[in-house]
Assembly symmetry: C2
Homo-oligomer: 156 residues x 2
DNA sequence: GCAGAGGTACTCGGATACGCGCTGTCCGAGTAAATTGGG
DNA sequence: CCCAATTTACTCGGACAGCGCGTATCCGAGTACCTCTGC
């Protein structure tokens, strides 16, 4: 799995704390010590997925497109990694020698793989960004305040 | 996900039908119209994982190392793709500016990702090779007999 | 003092190189079977 | 005819290239703010 998922997920936590103040990608990257331009590219994927909105120009940046309790971890993963299944059935049994090319029921292995991925997606879809924000605040109570101050006073 | 998972899974179904007769990788590859040498490489991974046993020389090949009801889809996936999690937490929050490097609780995002992967693994671990064999026989009742005949009479 | 036009600085966004891992292939070590020669 | 040593042919197993995708970077289009000038 790509690094972009972790980067953008944590970035979304910060954006949740910033409410409606747009935060540029450079600030987020500086906060987490990440390559700025690449993080920007990943955030664009979230914009295309409708999770974030972007505003250009001075005082511009990214912000959440909807409340944090309406953004799931699956939304973020799907935006970065794509929505299609990791396992792709090529129906090699249809290529099998001595078999009819016609099959009544679909490949049972593909079904099992798909079911497993559905379980994975459901588990991710149950986790909302709001729950991560609460967990972070429980770990460090003044995290939101600290983050806001740092982003306001940071130079680069 | 790599192609090897699909290839080796279907190969295991055939090996289950062949009981204790060793089948060379070339025969399996010819049956499914797959590159022979590469399939051999993938099957070696299953041997290292203890799912198959290999015998060299004439009349050699691969066979199942244990009954088909004791081989799960997760065993095969783990053998090919590796057992470690797809998502690797790099703890970028520890790199976050203005934060204590010490954290009491682990990263909540990493926990959610790990839980989702556990759900995926459990779903795969519940599917045994024996169930796939039964499904294939239900789809094509004489599939086992046909496969045995073809493998016996095939030239390459 | 105020309004408006121009300049400026800052942002996102997509187009452009680089590196690693999966894909694919090849040849050698090892082994069991087949063969051949002798008893 | 039976046995054993040798040859043979076939297998796995790991070492060797090729390619695609994720990683990383850069520069251009666009916009809001700031400044400066004229009224």
């Amino acid at each position: 799995m790509g690094e972009g998922v972790e980067w953008t997920a944590h970035s979304c936590i910060l954006l949740a704390w910033m409410e409606d103040d747009a935060v540029p990608a450079a600030k987020l990257a500086s906060y987490y010590k990440l390559p700025s331009a690449y993080l920007n590219k990943q955030l664009q994927s979230l914009v295309r997925a409708g999770i974030l909105t972007s505003v250009p120009g001075p005082k511009g940046g990214f912000r959440l497109a909807r409340p944090s309790d309406q953004i799931t971890l699956w939304d973020i993963v799907a935006a970065i990694e794509g929505e299609k299944d990791a396992f792709h059935c090529t129906e090699i049994r249809a290529q099998a020698a001595g078999s009819r090319t016609q099959f009544s029921s679909p490949c049972s292995i593909a079904i099992a793989m798909h079911e497993a991925e559905l379980a994975w997606r459901r588990a991710l879809a149950q986790q909302t960004l709001a729950s991560f924000v609460r967990a972070a605040e429980r770990s460090v109570p003044d995290a939101a305040e600290r983050a806001r101050r740092w982003l306001d006073t940071a130079e680069t």
